[in-house]
Assembly symmetry: C2
Homo-oligomer: 211 residues x 2
């Protein structure tokens, strides 16, 4: 009974938002967890960065919104591409439909702005990127936005702070699903010093610095 | 006068070896640094993991060994794909040819095994992944292999320990090329707690645990 994690690609996603968590999730054997790459359309999807550099890495989506398998876990990155996607009803609809059936929907960085726009975080606790925190909070007043948190675990929805925080959140999700020892071994094999405390936020003082 | 960084893809490269450093390097404005994705053949290249999971992310190479532009910086990841690539004379030749002209050739994790196999590290100080350290050391006796290091900076060649260590090394390279303030801002924007001390190695006790 393998779980399936769907990693959602869109133009301008942030590289480490996606691949910090996927480094950890792909260390779980495929008889326990399989990762699939999903986007609105199959094929290469270009990452983005604040500098709008050309030629950023393109990652291939193997599934689109119509043929993605059932997803037990959804991983939604942030990035400069978040802003245009706030108006992408196809993505928001896909997230609403699939999050309702998923065990865990996890966002990194500004990915929580998309979940909030979709209405999925209403009545829940959540966090987001520190330097652009208001991008998330402006999407819904009905979310209990947590300013100081490395990540926030509200059960079915888990949201992390900016970029690197997603890796710490991913290890916490691995601990919940597969046990603490598996999470510890996964971090060690990647020579990763895991921030284990969700409430300890070294970057809280950057709140809205760039907003 | 923008510098060009060539990120080298091969089948079975480790995701975070590549995208931890690229998260940091792509934060540098393109008028100072441009990133190009290079592989033996153009097109999608699949990542690998120790679990040999199917369907791992595929990243697109925009250039091959024959048409890659002049490279000022070379970024070489490790991963399970390192072992077959040790026999790939086309890759080793490309590395020899391009490293000779590059300002910095940087490897992550088992990537240093490939540099050692190519003879590029002879007479130099270098390090590698801790759990598979002997994979690197067995490639050349003429390298001064450093067992305890987050990364080792030998000027033209910079090598890091396993996976996550590459991100710390990348920030040190950014500091060298673009200044400490730029490196600090890059780490902060990614909400990344940078291990700044190259000699402090939290994972040295894992030496050859999996070899």
């Amino acid at each position: 009974m393998s779980l399936t994690l769907g990693a959602i690609l869109y133009e301008g996603f942030e590289l480490l938002d996606m691949f910090g968590p996927l480094e950890m999730f792909t260390a779980i054997p495929p008889d326990k967890l399989q990762v699939v790459m999903v986007a609105e359309a199959k094929g290469p999807v270009a990452a983005g960065s604040m500098t709008m550099a050309p030629g950023l890495p393109k990652v291939v989506a193997d599934f689109d919104f119509s043929d993605a398998p059932a997803l037990d876990i959804i991983l939604l990155p942030g990035g400069v591409g978040t802003v245009p996607e706030l108006e992408n009803e196809k993505l928001l609809s896909f997230l609403r439909e699939r999050a309702a059936k998923a065990q865990i929907t996890a966002s990194v960085c500004t990915g929580s702005a998309l979940l909030a726009r979709a209405g999925l975080l209403d009545g829940k606790r959540a966090t987001s990127n520190k330097q652009f925190f208001s991008l998330a909070t402006s999407q819904s007043q009905k979310v209990d936005w947590v300013e100081r948190a490395r990540w926030v675990d509200d059960g079915q929805f888990v949201t992390s702070s900016g970029v690197s925080a997603g890796t710490d959140m991913a290890l916490a999700i691995i601990a919940r699903l597969f046990g603490q020892e598996t999470a510890d071994q996964t971090a060690e094999a990647a020579e990763y010093t895991w921030h284990r405390d969700a409430d300890e936020d070294p970057f809280a003082d950057q709140l809205n610095r760039m907003a």
